[in-house]
Amino acid sequence: MPPLRKGILMQPLVQTHDIAVSFGGRQVLSHVAITINPGEIVTIVGPNGSGKSTLLRLIAGAVKPDHGQVVRRPGLRIGYVPQKLQLDPTLPMTVRRFLDLPRRCDDATALAALEEAGVSPAADRQMSDLSGGQFQRVLLARALLNQPDLLILDEATQGLDQPGSAAFYQRIEAVRDKLGCGVLMVSHELHVVMSASDRVICLNGHVCCEGTPDVVSSAPEYRELFGTGTGGALALYRHEHDHAHHHNPED
């Protein structure tokens, strides 16, 4: 690999500088400065209305900041998995056709992406016939098609049960290990997601705290937002890492 290209590959994927966003006079984000590095899994946690989705959409380019800037690495390829894709029942769509949006891909690439995402035999099925977990994996497969440098997931496991979302996040980790892409995601499922993250950013309109899952879960700002129960659940989850049955942190 030529040194120049390698130099580029070491650069942060995305940096935001002093971002401010408001919708209809309501300040959603202010003074947000975050960095996403190649190959790391970063999770944004925060209460409802804390601006998590807005931050993701900002980085994906769907929202423009009122102040500050978003610096993307030149030529950055983003794979985006939306929060929920409401497919109108009048719109017929096979899995295979969906993967051709917006650009056509050949069958081998499509199958490889489906396999990567863990839904191989689904190409001919209607999207509307898929289960919640399969649907999210097809969204993931589509996001993987253009070999993204950065994978963005917005509460991608909404509607999945706990074993389902744990399996989904394990799949994300496997994808990251194989493709070396950075991952930026938002999740409500603190205990599951924190164990799969390299770094956690706790957001509440601004960045409250950030760091490794251990650091963040013991930070006073985090405890103020989420209580102390989650830290215990995190430890529990780690303890039974390959079991899918664990306690709900809200219990």
Binding site: I78, P82, T90, L91, P92, T94, P102, Q126, I152
Partner: protein, 263 residues
């Protein structure tokens, strides 16, 4: 052969049905039916203005349809529920249009021709304009097909692929205005939405992909136009409503056969 008014009428019906069917798929997928109504009703106001100013009906209807569509797009999401807003605008535009027509002196205006269409009065120039408009709509949608689909599926997903959903919405708005303008003589302002929605809805049970559904909608739309023309001629019924009736029958047959098939 263009000298035969029946041939001209049939060709006009085929063109309008084809363009409306393709666009209609997006109208159905994006739940824009009421939006179509508002634009079509506004066209009556455009007709009144065209008659008053002695300009081309196509131009007048299209201009007002575009303005209406832009107003609706601009106002949506600002206080009123979308269907309330569209209901207010659609029926106000129709009412103002009907009032405006009554002010036009010296012109004996047959309003029915614009409300329900007067396909048998389509002249050679009309036919040319209708085909150009219809082909423009089909071409526009074919050109932006993938982007339109992405914008229809999910706005954020579209953005992440570098597609601007609002721009695609504008493309559909423009296509809708063209379809309304070229349809007004064929099926009339009150039945345009029917030609948009019924063929697309009738094609839904058989489509496995968006493309298959659009193709099916075109076949059903064109069949409705041809069969409707024939039936209107045989039964001596008004042409526009007959075409829509045939489309409605095809819709019922399509859903019935699907029901029997899946047994």
């Amino acid at each position: 052969m263009f000298d035969d008014f029946l041939v001209r009428a049939t060709l006009a019906g085929v063109a309008v049905a084809m363009a409306a069917a393709v666009l209609g798929c997006f109208v159905v997928w994006r739940r824009m039916a009421y939006f179509g109504d508002a634009t079509a009703h506004a066209a009556i106001l455009g007709v009144a203005l065209s008659l008053g100013l002695s300009i081309s009906i196509f131009a007048g209807a299209m201009a007002v349809a575009v303005i209406m569509a832009l107003i609706v797009a601009g106002l949506s999401g600002r206080g009123y529920a979308e269907d309330t807003l569209l209901g207010v605008l659609a029926h106000s535009a129709l009412a103002f249009g009907l009032v405006a027509v009554s002010f036009i002196p010296d012109v004996r205006v047959d309003l029915g021709a614009y409300l329900f269409g007067d396909i048998l009065a389509v002249g050679k120039t009309d036919l040319a304009v209708i085909w150009i408009g219809a082909l423009a709509v089909v071409g526009l949608i074919a050109w932006r097909w993938s982007r339109l689909l992405m914008a229809t599926l999910n706005a954020d997903l579209a953005f992440a692929s570098g597609i601007h959903p609002r721009r695609e919405q504008l493309v559909l708005t423009l296509a809708l205005a063209i379809v309304v303008a070229v349809s007004i003589k064929v099926v009339g302002a009150l039945l345009i939405t029917a030609l948009l929605i019924i063929p697309a809805a009738a094609a839904r049970p058989f489509g496995r992909t968006p493309e298959a559904m659009a193709l099916g909608a075109v076949v059903i739309g064109v069949a409705s136009a041809v069969l409707g023309m024939f039936a209107a001629y045989q039964l001596d019924t008004p042409t526009g409503p007959t075409i829509v009736s045939v489309a409605a029958i095809l819709f019922v047959l399509s859903n019935l056969s699907r029901l029997l098939w899946s047994r």
